[in-house]
Symmetry: C2
Subunit: 459 residues, 2 copies
């Protein structure tokens, strides 16, 4: 949110256009990179950096102007951060680090190995070093890990006019001047004030008179998703972060929260697709890392579904007696899985946005039961038509139709209730995401199918 | 982002706590609702409203103080908006509408049927009516549909000191005073200025001297996802929206973008789970609407997978000749599907965050090919062990192992390339989401399995 006035005119959205030109410069005249990139927005330079080959990236980051390099590294994909900081010459790294905002600096130092981090910290000023160490103590995904300690703090007895002058002076140093915080002698947060409130207040009034004492704050341990929900729900520009003694330690701004939301929604989607969340982008993550991340889930699902072979071996006689049942096996399995996936998607999302809660188990069960019966009956009619028209016996056709109703209903119930139950025992309901639910429903489906067949056909 | 100072002290996050007490009041003493809710944040009141039974909701919205009702309706889940506006007595509806921000007001009127909307518009002032009509002309999901026309516009020849005074006066009326816009005589956007820039500039300077002429703007037609990406990438508080002649029409603020991001990520997740995106929450959407939304996708997938029955009928002889092949059919199908789902998840997300683009088709193909071969070989070893240990013949075991390698690779290729191809022809790559890809891969998998069996076993 820093927006210091600049002399130069910034060009936006030029990453795609300028990428190739910059690659040329890296190879032919790296000394010209600083001048050539002077008027490009750091967010675009970060995008260009991410698309470069690793060896080009090293040249690029070492030739940017140091203030640009500081902003670019602050904007970089977390997966590339370690290599980026690592690639800077040590003396340059210290200069760049000094120019970064405290939260970006802590992220950069935190990405390094312990030894490397310590040798870099030793090159910082005492104040910067201590601040960085303090920030590094908080987990990445907490309010403490997101916050910046650069905020404007006020005292109750200051006058509005005096504070306006002080805020003008502080503007270039702090993350935002739009949200201001009032603390007592012990540094405890006692009020907040927006710049808007300040400007519309009477100049002679004291801050204590005009501040709001109804405000929200997060503790350093608050999870980043909760911070994002609060800022988004109450339309805040920033949220103050306090310690257990209510002492103000920092603020989280709305722009940090936007990044968190992108990150969290990527994680959710990847969990559903049976991929361990990647920290970086597809091309930024190495082939081996992606393969390893996929192998884990694929292997687990494989072992889970392998149980279907055992179940089918058990029903060998039934299969042998009515081979036509096999023709509809994939159809029935897929349909049970799809029904479960639909329910789990709706419920997992409902839990995430706070619309479905643990005590709703019964209501969800009733709703999913009736939805399943209705949808199952609809599909059973189609299935019955297809089987009879395809020349199957009435018996086999009835088995197929009855099983479709059953598996759609059971699928809806499992998909709907599993996320709530998983949540109740304290895990992330997204664990009940499609592929896992599908594997479970696969086994259940096969058992149901051939059990119905045994009963109806008597084999 | 409006934050007019209030006399009363607001309580935050009390929705869960107060919901039951409010329900009691609705039934016993609705006349006390206005006083009882005076100090509750509208975002919490909106949450309470969403959880009420429809008939209680009507009583509640008709008894809130009108200014609270205006904010609550503005914060409401879009799926409930129509019923909420509809439930207000006509004279009250006009008062509440007048108190809403222009963008919320347009959304509220836009939710109604044409006739009802017209009769409500007739009760507004001429200026409000025309403004609402103008905003309604833009699609919901465009910058025009998101923007508010309440912004501060400046002229180049004003002085900094004069503008500071003017901004103080405008503060209660406009959406934000932190982002200011400079227009020429024709209303064309020629510069922007943050309040921070303004406060740190020399009081005698003219706006033309201190404004930034390097700024980003969106056109009214710009898609909301693009608007969200720009605001998030460049850490903006607001983005100006202009018409084809570069005339400034409104601004989109960061808090609107947070809502858009929640909405878009819900949509993506629901597409993956084979559910037509719900506009409201799980419990807010009626049973019939959810069932209909699910029936569509479930039916399409059912018809798609039905093709597997035809394929299996075609291979009847092969199945009859080696019944054991059936035991491994679900395992092989699930594995091909999971591999495809992993790839499509990674690529769809990569496209969404701009990391994978259409020209990357070749790079993605090579990467997915090798990933598929590697993962396939890993699983084939497990499958071979299981089949042999389970007492199957060497021939059947080899068929299973060979097919696993093949389907994992083919799955990865289809899952990886399909989203890019769909994007190339101009559709949303999320269309290539798991269930559809899985259905396609199901059919391909069965054909591959029994073809390999025919060749290896000669039946």
């Amino acid at each position: 949110m820093t927006s210091t006035p600049r002399e130069r005119k910034i060009r936006f959205g030029t990453a795609g256009l300028l990428g190739p030109a910059i690659e040329d410069l890296i190879h032919s005249a790296p000394g010209e990179l600083a001048d050539a990139t002077e008027d490009i927005h750091p967010a675009d330079l970060a995008e260009i950096t991410e698309d470069l080959e690793p060896e080009d990236r090293v040249v690029f980051l070492n030739h940017l102007a140091t203030d640009q390099a500081a902003e670019v590294i602050g904007d970089l994909d977390p997966a590339l951060l370690k290599d980026a900081v690592h690639s800077l010459a040590p003396s340059r790294a210290a200069v760049v680090l000094r120019l970064m905002t405290p939260d970006d600096r802590a992220d950069a130092v935190g990405s390094l190995d312990r030894e490397e981090a310590e040798s870099l910290l030793a090159r910082l000023s005492r104040a910067d070093r201590e601040e960085t160490r303090r920030l590094l103590a908080y987990p990445d995904v907490s309010a403490g890990g997101l916050m910046t300690p650069d905020f404007v703090s006020l005292r109750q007895d200051e006058t509005v006019a005096g504070v306006i002058e002080r805020v003008k002076g502080a503007a270039p140093e702090v993350e935002t001047i739009y949200a201001l915080y009032v603390v007592d002698e012990a540094g405890r947060l006692i009020g907040t004030l927006s710049l808007r409130d300040l400007l519309t207040a009477s100049p002679e009034a004291s801050i204590g008179e005009v501040m709001r004492d109804d405000f929200l704050s997060a503790s350093v341990e608050t999870d980043q998703e909760e911070v994002a929900n609060l800022i988004s729900k109450y339309d805040l520009l920033a949220l103050p972060v306090v310690d257990a003694g209510n002492r103000l330690l920092g603020i989280v701004t709305v722009d940090d929260v936007l990044d968190v939301m992108v990150e969290e929604s990527t994680e959710d989607v990847q969990k559903m697709g049976a991929v361990t969340p990647l920290e970086g982008g597809y091309f930024q993550t190495s082939f081996w890392r992606v393969a390893r991340s996929r192998a884990g889930w694929l292997g687990i699902l494989f072992l889970g579904v392998m149980f279907t072979a055992t179940v089918l071996e058990f029903f060998e006689e039934t299969i042998d007696g009515a081979l036509a049942l096999v023709f509809f096996l994939p159809l029935i399995m897929a349909t049970g899985g799809n029904s479960g996936a639909q329910s789990s998607t709706l419920i997992i999302r409902g839990i995430a946005v706070g619309d479905v809660e643990a005590p709703d188990l019964g209501r969800v069960a009733i709703r999913e039961l009736f939805t399943g019966l209705l949808l199952g009956a609809f599909l059973a009619v189609i299935a019955l038509g297809r089987a009879m028209w395809g020349g199957q016996s009435f018996g086999v056709s009835m088995v197929v139709a009855l099983t479709v109703v059953t598996v759609v209903t059971v699928g809806a119930l499992i998909g709907g209730l599993l996320p709530i139950l998983i949540r109740r025992v304290g895990f992330d309901p997204a664990v009940a995401s499609s592929p896992l639910v599908t594997s479970l429903i696969d086994v259940v489906t096969i058992v149901l199918y051939f059990s119905v067949a045994r009963v109806v056909l008597g084999i």
